[in-house]
């Protein structure tokens, strides 16, 4: 059910944005929009399906903690 809602939301976003881009013949803008939306959609879908996605904050935590070890504050 969530996935169906999610797909409808995506279709809504595409229908909202694409007509203006086509009318203005902004092909590069459309490519960027579709690329970013596709990536965002995929990420969201994987999260809904509860697939393990690498967490960038984990890397930030480890890096800062490494410096804590080097320089004890």
């Amino acid at each position: 059910m969530i996935i169906v809602g999610y797909i409808f939301a995506l279709i809504g976003i595409i229908l909202f944005e694409i007509p203006t881009l086509i009318l203005n013949k902004s092909w590069w803008e459309m490519a960027v929009f579709l690329g970013l939306t596709g990536f965002a959609f995929l990420l969201g879908l994987l999260m809904i399906l509860q697939v393990n996605i690498p967490n960038p904050v984990y890397l930030i935590n480890k890096t800062v903690e490494y410096f804590f070890d080097l320089v004890p504050i």
């Binding site: 976003i13 944005e17 203006t20 969201g44 967490n55 904050v57 800062v64």
Partner: protein, 364 residues
């Protein structure tokens, strides 16, 4: 190429900065490590924050019509400049996701415990996306109304809390807090919220009178810092040493207000403050990321990237912390050190390289 044609007057920038500074601090207390000396730590951190802001303003005035990304390109050249711009965009994007998560954690954890956090994140991003798509002029005008409402609410809740206040809670000064804890609080408060104003390097170029930037920023920092100070004193005076154990001390302090059993449960006013100021903070960051991404990818307009960036921001804010405790650990322990390079080292480096290379923006 200019992606944003809008201009904002200096007075709107004042309200925008105040709203941004007050943003998340409405509910989260960056001064918890300093205990009853948090108010003093805020004053010191405001002075440190002013030093940060001085670098941003000098940089902005040197390159009057250029925003941060254009400055990076001019100072470091097209390749290194773009790499540094990308790093900044990540920081703004991540900061937006953190603020969004704080917003969601608070609403889903305290106000609507049965509602999934994603509902609040999606709603907030949709409202912010609308503001971002309307441009900086609309954001600036909105900030005036919202900041005035927030200030009135803060003063009102503080006045209503007076019967609960015990000003002895502010004493003894600098005796119970160790120097290390005090300095840690100063660092936390300087990076969050004052140092975060580095994002305004994306907005300073839209101010119609760049000569007023110094005065504008000074007024905004003093006023924003003043609001934080009032809030800190109220929370310490009402909650005393208990303040450190609450995740959301402002909410708890105002919740205790009871005037003759008539004026009670006014903590919703704190929630209103957080909604409005959280909106301003997320919108400014969201705007900066959208504008920056469009600029980096050489788009004719930033509108096509607004909604996808919003979805990505929601994804990151959900993904980054498994619980509000992780969020708390990151905010108080990791974030100040993570944010420092973006808030002080990179802007300072940019300014030094610009001075050494004699780079300046051409007014126009």
């Amino acid at each position: 190429m200019k992606l944003e044609g809008g201009k904002i007057p200096a007075n709107q920038l004042v309200f925008l900065i105040i709203g941004f500074i007050y943003g998340t601090v409405v509910i989260i207390n960056p001064g918890r490590a300093a205990g009853n000396d948090a108010w003093l730590a805020f004053i010191v951190s405001m002075l440190v924050g002013l030093c940060f802001a001085a670098i941003y303003v000098i940089l902005a005035q040197r390159f009057q019509t250029k925003n941060l990304l254009e400055i990076n390109d001019l100072v470091f050249g097209p390749y290194l400049g773009k790499l540094i711009s990308l790093v900044y965009l990540w920081y703004f994007f991540h900061l937006g996701a953190i603020v969004l998560r704080n917003f969601g954690d608070f609403l889903a954890g305290i106000i609507f415990p049965e509602t999934p956090i994603s509902v609040f994140l999606i709603t907030m991003v949709l409202i912010c996306a609308s503001a971002v798509r309307n441009g900086i002029e609309v954001i600036g005008r909105t900030s005036i109304i919202l900041t005035i409402i927030t200030t009135i609410i803060l003063v009102l809740t503080s006045l209503l809390s007076i019967p609960l206040m015990d000003f002895n809670n502010l004493l003894p000064i600098l005796q119970t807090t160790k120097l290390k804890e005090f300095l840690t609080t100063v660092l936390i408060s300087a990076t969050f919220p004052f140092g975060e104003t580095v994002v305004f390097l994306m907005i300073f170029s839209t101010v119609n009178n760049p000569k007023k930037l110094k005065l504008t920023t000074l007024i905004a920092f003093l006023f924003g810092g003043g609001l934080l100070l009032i809030q800190a004193i109220r929370n310490i005076a009402v909650l005393g040493t208990l303040m450190d154990i609450y995740t959301y001390p402002s909410y708890t302090a105002v919740r205790a207000v009871n005037i003759f059993e008539v004026i009670t449960r006014i903590e919703i006013l704190v929630v209103i403050n957080f909604l409005t100021m959280g909106f301003i903070k997320v919108t400014v960051l969201y705007y900066a990321v959208s504008l920056g991404t469009a600029q980096l990818l050489k788009l004719k307009s930033y509108l096509p990237v607004v909604l996808p960036i919003g979805i990505l921001m929601i994804c990151l804010s959900l993904l980054q912390f498994e619980s509000s405790f992780e969020n708390s650990y990151f905010t108080y322990t990791i974030y100040p050190f993570y944010a420092l390079p973006f808030q002080i080292f990179l802007p300072l480096l940019t300014l030094l390289v610009a001075i050494i290379r004699g780079k300046k923006g051409v007014p126009g």
